[in-house]
């Protein structure tokens, strides 16, 4: 068996991990601390780490200050889910074609797809606004879903293509021999085999769609009821005062559902990526 870590190496690894995690988790810790402080003590200077009046009141009051908060949290999840489903529906056939079939302009069109990665919504904001206006999608959920899908298709194709390439081609050939149509083979042979890859792509797309809702939401949607959480949070900035403690509480509460889902999926994510989706 390969050599084990010596005790001092293990200690060193743990110290490094703790430093690494401190950097990663510090903003969350800070948000949590701020959410516990009563508003009048939030702006106390000089800085005080501990106050004896910590309370969870903000977690109760936030629902009253911004009545639509629950809706914003669900909107965020709904938008990201819709983006994921539509992206998968477009990406699965395309990724299959790039993984398995030979056709003219295959490499050219694939590079063009990947070239889309060079644009973000922010570069194309004004023409994109006009296109959405022409299509009548402004101020609807679609205004946030449609651009999200477009910018995630390339990554989706890239990830899933790598995964499908790793599936043994013999199974499909066997299905053809038995007289199955191409579409049937794709649906009943390739798709079930690609499930781990679909989890990877689905999770990556969902995260991409969930993490980047702010810009499209504030630019393409004016209707409060449709706003996702990152945009809705700024309602805590009122005319009179900013209830920062409630904003922090709402931010932490709002991302909880997705964090919990991710907790269950992350194992499959690493396993799926390892299985070869990112090779090449």
């Amino acid at each position: 068996m390969i050599d084990r870590y010596k005790p001092w190496q293990i200690v060193l690894i743990y110290i490094a991990v703790i430093i690494f995690l401190t950097f990663i988790l510090l903003p969350f810790f800070e948000m949590f601390m701020a959410s516990l402080r009563p508003l009048e003590h939030l702006f106390r200077s000089p800085y005080q780490f501990w106050s004896d009046d910590f309370s969870f009141r903000a977690y109760v009051d936030m629902w009253k200050t911004v009545p639509l908060l629950g809706r914003y949290i669900l909107n965020s999840i709904f938008i990201a889910s819709a983006v994921t489903l539509i992206t998968l529906a477009l990406v699965i056939p395309a990724a299959y074609a790039y993984a398995r079939l030979d056709f003219p302009f295959k490499n050219v069109s694939l590079s063009l797809f990947l070239g889309v990665n060079m644009f973000t919504g922010a570069v194309l904001l004004i023409p994109l606004y006009r296109v959405l206006r022409t299509l009548g999608l402004l101020n609807t959920y679609w205004a946030m879903i449609v651009p999200g899908v477009a910018f995630l298709i390339p990554t989706g194709i890239w990830l899933l293509r790598g995964y499908i390439q790793k599936i043994p081609v013999e199974l499909e050939e066997a299905a053809y021999v038995d007289g199955a149509s191409r579409l049937y083979t794709l649906r009943r042979v390739v798709l079930p085999m690609a499930v781990p890859g679909l989890i990877v792509v689905g999770t990556a797309v969902f995260i991409g769609a969930y993490a980047q809702q702010f810009l499209f939401a504030v630019t393409f949607n004016q209707i409060r009821e449709y706003q996702p959480l990152p945009a809705g949070l700024f309602e805590f900035i009122g005319y009179q005062s900013v209830t920062w403690n409630e904003m922090m509480a709402a931010a932490l509460t709002g991302v909880m559902p997705v964090m919990v889902i991710f907790l269950f999926l992350q194992k499959y994510l690493v396993a799926g990526l390892t299985a070869g989706a990112v090779k090449e």
């Binding site: 988790l25 965020s76 477009l90 074609a97 809702q213 990112v278 090449e280």
Partner: protein, 291 residues
């Protein structure tokens, strides 16, 4: 022949979608860049917008700043990602927990993470300034986002924070994909842990590293929300990258034409950068024999 039709039928929906939502707006952007379009007016001005950009010293500084921002941030992300992945790949108790705890900055909306950083960087109420005063590094509150160079590097740290988890995860997956036989064979030959990391792990994950680096570079170059929420490009333009500048001109000042010209410059610079990068990627691939 039928395979060609079938292939294109499979790709067509995705192509149509991209054509309408990305390609058409791109064509429109190029057209707008030759006009002085504002909200309700628009007329052709030729290369005037570009000529203005060429002359502007401020714009040249913005380009340099953007590349500095990208190269510095991506280098740190890759370095931290590599260290993080190596740490998470070590077989020590608790590694499953560590793996979960590294992911949150990637999973949550960027705008929400930035609210946390805004608070951290606050001189009066933030823990960073507070801790620095407690230890004695500072003798008064320090506003991280109020001064030119501290704002720039503070924004870099926040950008690194957002980008590192994903790099870590992909490199971790790549490391786990390396065949155990290679390590055992090297171990039998008496290779040290560090030697195995350098001569087996690094070359084996190189293909993932280089493609990750390009993707990360493009995203960092276009990183908008992070800067916008932290500083809106200030103070005095210190954190204004090309994408922030474009947004400010086009959306902030409603100068659609001039904004479009900036957008086109972004696309040209990124295409050139990607081209040069892929040229070198080809060389790396040949050297490590992965293609």
């Amino acid at each position: 022949m039928s395979q060609t039709w079938f292939a294109w039928a499979l790709i067509l929906p995705a192509i149509l979608f991209i054509a309408i939502i990305v390609a058409w707006p791109l064509v429109e952007t190029v057209r707008l860049s030759f006009t002085n379009a504002k909200i309700n007016s628009e007329s052709y001005v030729g290369f005037e917008n570009y000529a203005k950009l060429m002359e502007s010293r401020k714009f040249q500084q913005t380009i340099i700043r953007t590349f500095y921002w990208m190269i510095l941030s991506v280098s740190i992300k890759l370095l931290l990602g590599l260290i993080g992945a190596a740490l998470l790949n070590a077989t020590v108790p608790g590694k499953a927990l560590f793996r979960v705890l590294v992911m949150p900055p990637w999973v949550i909306p960027i705008a929400i993470g930035m609210i946390g950083w805004l608070w951290l960087y606050n001189g009066h109420f933030g823990i960073l300034s507070g801790a620095a005063q407690f230890i004695g590094i500072l003798d008064g509150p320090f506003e991280f986002l109020a001064y030119k160079s501290s704002a720039f590097y503070s924004a870099i740290v926040a950008d690194v924070w957002v980008g590192t988890p994903m790099v870590t995860l992909f490199l971790l997956a790549a490391m786990q994909g390396v065949s155990k036989d290679l390590y055992e064979a090297a171990w039998v030959d008496g290779a040290s842990r560090w030697y195995r990391f350098r001569r087996i792990t690094i070359p084996q994950i190189m293909p993932v590293m280089v493609s990750m680096a390009l993707l990360s570079a493009i995203w960092t170059f276009n990183s908008f929300e992070i800067i916008w929420i932290l500083t809106e490009g200030g103070p005095r333009g210190a954190t204004t990258t090309l994408i922030v500048d474009t947004y400010k001109v086009a959306i902030g000042n409603f100068k659609f034409g001039q904004g479009a010209a900036r957008a086109v410059v972004i696309v040209i610079l990124l295409a050139a950068f990607s081209g040069v990068y892929l040229f070198f990627l080809e060389k790396v691939n040949r050297r490590y024999g992965t293609k």
